[in-house]
Subunit: 252 residues, 2 copies
DNA sequence: GGGCGGAAAATTGCATTCATTTTTTGAGAG
DNA sequence: CTCTCAAAAAATGAATGCAATTTTCCGCCC
């Protein structure tokens, strides 16, 4: 069984792009059909093909993926444990709706994980990996000066990913990917284009980040990264989710 | 189906007791038979009824819990996503064996989560909750002076849990519980009885913890908690897992 | 016209069944 | 006696079947 006779979940421009740093989730799960389906279903939901709060139609997904209900339901149970959907007894699964408070909580956890990643990265990063981050930082700065939002986002994303990678901690990577996935459904129109102040502030924070990392100042970097995420959230506050899975960039 | 004909897995005093502030893991999962089975199976494994690295016998567990393979397999998939077991394609599930590096990584993540909890607690803790922690701290100190290891452990555990509760962040609680569960299989014979130095050091660290919390110094507390966990790990280093599910206390 | 009640349809949860794959077993060769 | 290899046995992964619950739909009453 190869999971083929399906119309490829169209609209996957969003994730595929950022996918450069695809995390393996759990090695044991990526292999073996079940893991394949799990990843596909996760993407399907994360990309917004299902409205927030909407019912998850087993039947429909079964034919969409060309499988029977058993593996699908197994995948749903896992996605529920990841917090992406919720299971109502006898009433099926629903796409988890994020309230404002939950959003804040999730951002804080992301901040905590990035803080941890930064601290660990200071201990473990190789000179090469640091050099690469430095390069990305300068490229980002250049994008910033050019007001190239897209380039800026890409570098920004890459830098944060590199820091997590540099932490060299598998459970951390997995958790990070999980929370990032949950937040990916959220669209912040905190378009930096409309928020020059925040953009400049974010850029300054990144200067601090690079500086702390250069000095391998773990505690400091940890602090800065947490605050950085806090500010990112504040800048994006009040914005809701958006069904169409078009643009996948997130403000920083 | 009522999931009855089984000897109740006991010894979960840790999490269940603290329920004053609700530890629902995921609300959607605790209700509904599936969640019940999931919790039971998780406990069954965490408590060491299955040897580390051993095969997870579906057939046996089915009759043990009095259910068919379908719900059991769903639960196994979830436990795999939690990292408690691993799924080998066509070769079933195995209890995850923690190597030394993974253990270190897990401890670091726990440290990161506690650090985050401390930071958030400084922002959100109520005077009453703080007073309770202060009380526990003094009780712990008293146990320390009396060389009452059991009392010391209990207070220590309670303090860390209260800090997580005070952070008032559901996803954090869930993640924390998840990682704590993974580490529960590990028995550190870092018996403070045989390690007076570490005991005193831990006590001093707890003084710092309380002090930072009193001053609501989030960054500081964050730092201390991370270092505290690091030291805890170092003191416990080199110890392996233990099959018998007797005593459930973990060294600090 | 706007609910109300109840039967039909759909959906869910779990058990059972079936096709593959892996593991075990045992006979025979070296 | 040990190793090899094939057949039997067992286990896994997924599909299907079935009872129970929920949702939908439609005629009916107010």
């Amino acid at each position: 069984m190869v999971l083929d006779p399906v119309t490829e979940p169209e609209a996957d421009a969003g994730l595929a792009a950022i996918d450069g740093a695809r995390f393996p989730a759990f090695p044991s799960l990526v292999k073996s059909l079940h893991g394949e389906l799990l990843a596909r279903l996760r993407d399907y939901i994360v990309e917004g093909n299902l409205a927030a709060g909407a019912r998850v139609p087993e039947r429909m997904l079964c034919e969409h993926f060309g499988i029977s209900r058993t593996p699908l339901r197994e995948a749903l149970k896992v996605l529920a444990s990841e917090g992406l959907i919720e299971l109502l007894p006898n009433r099926g699964a629903r796409v988890r709706q994020l309230g404002a408070e939950e959003l804040v909580d999730l951002f804080d956890v992301m901040g905590g994980l990035e803080a941890l990643a930064g601290r660990l990265a200071c201990e473990k990063i190789t000179p090469e990996a640091y050099a690469e981050i430095e390069r990305l930082h300068h490229e980002m700065y250049s994008s910033y000066m050019r007001r190239d939002l897209h380039g800026y986002f890409a570098c920004n994303q890459a830098i944060h990913d590199r820091i997590v990678q540099a932490a060299d901690n598998e459970p951390l990577r997995t958790s990070y990917a999980n929370f990032a996935g949950r937040l990916r459904r959220v669209r912040y129109s905190a378009n930096l284009d409309e928020n020059r102040d925040r953009w400049g502030e974010a850029m300054r924070e990144h200067e601090e980040i690079l500086d702390a990392l250069r000095r391998r100042a773990g505690s400091e970097l940890s602090d800065i990264l947490f605050r950085h995420l806090r500010n990112k959230r504040r800048a994006a506050e009040g914005r809701e989710t958006a069904p169409p899975p078009d643009d996948a960039s997130a403000a920083s």
